[in-house]
């Protein structure tokens, strides 16, 4: 099947408007006869469910948590981008579009990104109307801050809890529709398969996680907003329950899976403390507005720090290596995430890491505290030479901006970041790859849509900070509700979809068979045993830096691990009760397949772009020496993989990317 992105013709700035003017609509009376399933209730799924219900469709929404408000969008910290240009600093729809395409290392679809930039401003209007309490200035207007990879201030925020506030906004919009009976909410339900009837997605099979009951749910269309697959690495900033199962089952039913190797390793996370670690915690990128990243210049200082004989605050300015400021003077500490992560790895690999494991760098707020302190002292007419006072005033400002993050750090690490620099290290955070979708956000299965992080769409090979929240809400509030109507306009006479068909029965039986296997298999290792081993392979061989040898080994090792899993996994309890091990077994089984495809995709892409860094593709000389080298001639395409059984049999389809409005350039932040 040839991939058709269905991108509308015409000038980029007019595409979305013209397209909306010409697609088919469903009249309000007919919407009442149409059912839509939404899987996942994060920013994308929650906003889509609410909006579809408002439009008049009958929505069934599903989440595996005990309430839609728990979805992991809630943990997003720093902010949401929008091309409002409230600061008058030169922002515009075009500039947001440009920054996003460049930030994504020219591997995203231009038309989608432009649309995203176009609807971004409306998101802010909408959220304010919903009562989302964004940060404000003293004049009562909305405040902004800067994020990595851009030269303007376009990020709206609510302290370090922007994701929480936006998700609770979407949750409240859902609640209004649940109260009206337009959304039927299924909490603690996990989707375990997509059901296709006559080639179209017509429903899902779910497991009630409390009773264990297997249920059939039908609809005229199915929307997946089920998040990213970072937990294939076991350790990531994702929630413990975040998984790829919904997307992977869709893949097995015919949805192509795109760019699995594009994974974002976030530069500022709290370092691993030991083998017991179950997850990693992000320290928001917004901290790089005020925090300066460094390691000691001298190896003697590094050793003294590791031995506990020297405090970082005792190292003089001239003996510190602010390596981002040194290497990238134009963007400094605010280079994009992939660049910042690789730079941290480079310093730690060279032996300059500052914790016991040698895998940490400093994020230091001392100069920001002094700067803010002096500003406050000036405003209040106080003594600018009183160092203790300046520090106190400065700490208050920093607390106001990032208080919750500092508190999180202190609780985990047991050190006070107001008085000593934070230690940070890169960790898996976000996945740019995902289920392939066209301009309508429809997958290669008719009637099956995919939105938010779960799809591959808008961020190319690297996502800029504060753009995930933007994309999730853009897809759910403003894009999908339009585009899905074009498809559903053919279904106004279809009537309710029966769940008694052989397709539903077969899918249900298959799900039951797998669950039964797990329960009856007399294995010897827990699910986590396999998950942790998979994570180690992924991190060591398919992580921040990749090469042919490591990737080839990873493919073999993951396949062997998968085979061992199916022989030796041990799941206690039964299938007709609450059984978290059983739920985890199904998720890890899917990760074990995805992981191999991930490595295969990374092996196929013989270039460095964004979060995908190949050691055999770097600039060899000139100003950019050592930086990632893209290969636009051979790899300016989306890799969309078709399921054929084993991951090794997956077939590659290419969506060639056309760049008409942006010139392809070396991405320089120097």
């Amino acid at each position: 099947m040839a991939l058709d992105s269905k991108t509308p013709k015409g000038p980029i700035a007019d595409k979305w408007t013209n397209y909306k003017n010409h697609i088919d609509l469903v009249n309000p009376a007919n919407k009442r006869n149409i059912d839509v399933i939404v899987v996942g209730t994060g920013l994308a799924g929650g906003s889509a469910a609410a909006t579809l219900a408002e439009l008049g469709y009958n929505v069934k929404a599903f989440c595996f948590q005990d309430s839609p408000r728990r979805a992991h969008s809630i943990a997003a910290q720093g902010g949401i981008n929008a091309a409002k240009n409230y600061q008058g600093d030169g922002d515009s729809t075009y500039r947001l579009f440009y920054d996003t395409v460049k930030g994504g290392d020219y591997r995203s679809r231009e038309a989608n990104v432009y649309r995203l930039a176009e609807v971004s401003a409306n998101i802010i209007d909408q959220c304010v109307a919903q009562g989302v309490p964004f940060a404000r200035e003293y004049g009562g207007l909305l405040d902004n801050r800067s994020f990595g990879g851009v030269l303007v201030s376009r990020t709206f925020y609510a302290a370090g809890q922007t994701g929480q506030q936006l998700l609770l906004g979407a949750y409240s919009a859902m609640n209004r529709q649940i109260g009206r009976g337009k959304i039927k909410m299924y909490n603690r339900h996990e989707m375990l398969d997509v059901v296709k009837v006559d080639g179209k997605a017509r429903g899902i099979i779910t497991r009630n996680l409390i009773t264990g009951e297997i249920e059939r749910h039908s609809a005229h269309a199915v929307v997946l907003g089920s998040g990213g697959y970072g937990n294939v690495f076991f350790l990531s900033t994702n929630a413990m329950g975040s998984n790829v199962t919904a997307g992977w089952k869709a893949h097995k039913r015919g949805a192509y899976f795109a760019n699995p190797c594009y994974t974002q390793i976030h530069p500022t996370c709290i370092p691993v403390s030991g083998d017991h670690q179950s997850k990693l915690t992000l320290m928001s990128e917004s901290l790089r507005n005020d925090g300066r990243i460094w390691v000691p210049k001298n190896m003697d200082d590094v050793k003294a720090i590791r031995d506990g004989k020297l405090k970082p605050t005792a190292i003089a300015e001239e003996n510190r290596d602010y390596y981002l400021e040194r290497r990238y003077p134009a963007f400094g500490n605010l280079v994009p995430r992939d660049v910042a992560s690789r730079a941290a790895k480079e310093r730690c690999d060279a032996g300059y890491g500052v914790n016991a494991t040698g895998e940490a760098v400093y994020l230091d707020f001392a100069s920001a505290i002094t700067r803010y302190g002096k500003e406050q002292a000036t405003i209040k007419g106080l003594d600018l030479n009183d160092a203790a006072l300046i520090k106190k005033l400065g700490q208050e400002v920093v607390k106001n901006k990032y208080g919750n993050l500092f508190q999180m750090y202190e609780k985990i690490v047991d050190q006070d970041p107001y008085n000593t620099p934070m230690m940070i290290y890169p960790a898996v955070h976000y996945t740019m790859g995902g289920v392939w979708v066209d301009y309508n956000l429809m997958t290669t299965v008719p009637g099956l849509y995919c939105i938010g992080e779960a799809n591959f769409s808008d961020h190319g090979a690297n996502r800029l900070g504060a753009s995930a929240l933007m994309q999730g809400l853009a897809d759910g509030y403003f894009v999908l509700p339009y585009t899905i109507g074009d498809y559903l306009s053919d279904d106004i006479r279809t009537g309710p979809i029966s769940t008694d068909s052989k397709e539903f029965e077969e899918a249900e039986n298959e799900v039951k068979k797998t669950l039964n296997f797990f329960i009856t298999n007399e294995g010897k290792h827990s699910v986590d045993y396999f998950h942790k081993r998979l994570g180690k392979i992924m991190w060591n061989k398919v992580g921040m830096s990749r090469n042919v040898k490591g990737l080839t080994e990873a493919i073999t090792e993951i396949k062997e691990l998968r085979e061992q899993f199916w022989k030796e996994v041990k799941v206690p309890g039964s299938s007709d009760e609450y059984n978290e091990e059983l739920a985890k077994a199904g998720r890890v089984a899917d990760f074990l397949e995805l992981g191999e495809l991930f490595a295969k995709d990374a092996l196929n892409r013989e270039e460095s772009c964004g979060g995908h860094f190949r050691e055999d593709s770097v600039e060899l000389d000139g100003e950019q020496k050592g930086e990632a080298l893209r290969n636009d001639k051979d790899f300016a395409y989306v890799s969309a993989w078709e399921y054929k059984g084993e991951p090794s049999d997956a077939v590659l389809h290419k969506e060639e990317l056309e760049f008409n409005d942006i010139e392809l350039k070396q991405r320089s932040y120097k």
């Binding site: 609410a50 909006t51 408002e54 948590q65 005990d66 309430s67 408000r69 728990r70 979805a71 992991h72 809630i74 802010i124 209007d125 909408q126 959220c127 109307a129 919903q130 009562g131 309490p133 940060a135 404000r136 200035e137 009562g140 207007l141 909305l142 609510a158 302290a159 809890q161 929480q164 506030q165 609770l168 409240s172 919009a173 609640n175 209004r176 109260g179 409390i210 929630a239 403390s273 030991g274 017991h276 179950s278 997850k279 915690t281 508190q407 999180m408 609780k411 985990i412 047991d414 509030y477 403003f478 509700p481 827990s526 986590d528 041990k570 206690p572 309890g573 009760e577 609450y578 091990e581």
Partner: protein, 251 residues
């Protein structure tokens, strides 16, 4: 600080209809850098390897924001530390040889599902009754900066809105009152101009649903504020009472 050996006394209950009981377990070599839930992971791995059923507990983000984790630890919701959820509680708060009591959140409106897991859907139903502003999300609204909001009000609204809906306030309250939870939501909207239009209906509907769910009354002991992992202020209860009175007078 070295590793710890601990005795755990944990509530085990097969399902909602089971009577349930406390069961003793031992865990060894617990690192002070582990989170409380990572310590339970160690126990569960041990149980699974011995062919026993692991302890069921709710958790997801493990960074103190999703509100899914709960647990009543040594008689305190989210355990002995302040302004943290159980997932942020670290084992350095305990000593080698300690015995730790671990129970579910207990309240009539939070029935036990299994072991340490409770059903908090009553919270959702209170939100369905009025925890929103009735604007359509798909349409075009006014520009976000068309209505300035006093920074102090916006900050207070935000502070109220940081409630994570974990239910620690209910579990802590001797009356199992949900006033802090409901007060926080009512306050968020009451402090913003956008929330004024439906203020009357909102507070009446949410309080009505709260009562129907079987939550108790507030007798102003303030225990909820102390145990709240997000430091939600009692001010919010006072503000809700004011809003309720205003609404009742309007009818």
């Amino acid at each position: 600080m070295g590793s710890m050996n601990l005795t755990l006394k944990i509530w085990r209950q097969k399902n909602a209809n089971d009577k349930g009981k406390m069961v003793d377990y031992k865990v060894n070599d617990i690192s002070p850098d582990m989170s409380f839930l990572e310590m339970l992971d160690v126990l569960n791995e041990q149980l699974i390897n011995n062919g026993d059923e692991p302890v069921a507990f709710d958790h997801d983000c493990r960074e103190g924001i999703c509100g899914m984790c709960s647990l009543y630890i040594n008689g305190e919701a989210h355990g002995p530390d302040r302004e943290v959820t159980t997932c942020q509680l670290h084992m350095r708060m305990f000593k080698d040889g300690d015995t730790i009591f671990i129970e579910p959140f207990r309240a009539k409106a939070f029935p036990v599902v299994k072991d340490l897991i409770v059903d908090r859907s009553s919270f959702d139903r209170i939100q369905h009754a009025g925890g929103f502003i009735s604007v359509n999300t798909s349409g075009n609204t006014i520009d976000a900066n068309a209505t300035p909001v006093n920074k102090a009000d916006a900050d207070k609204a935000f502070e109220a809105a940081t409630c994570i809906g974990c239910g620690a306030c209910v579990a802590t309250c001797k009356n199992s009152s949900a006033m802090l939870f409901v007060g926080a939501k009512v306050s968020q909207f009451a402090l913003l101009p956008q929330g004024q239009v439906e203020a009357t209906d909102r507070v009446l509907n949410m309080v009505k649903q709260m009562d129907e769910e079987g939550f108790g009354n507030c007798t102003n002991t303030g225990a909820c504020e102390v145990e709240c992992p997000k430091g939600i202020s009692l001010e919010n209860i006072a503000r809700m009472n004011t809003e309720f009175l205003k609404a009742s007078l309007k009818g």
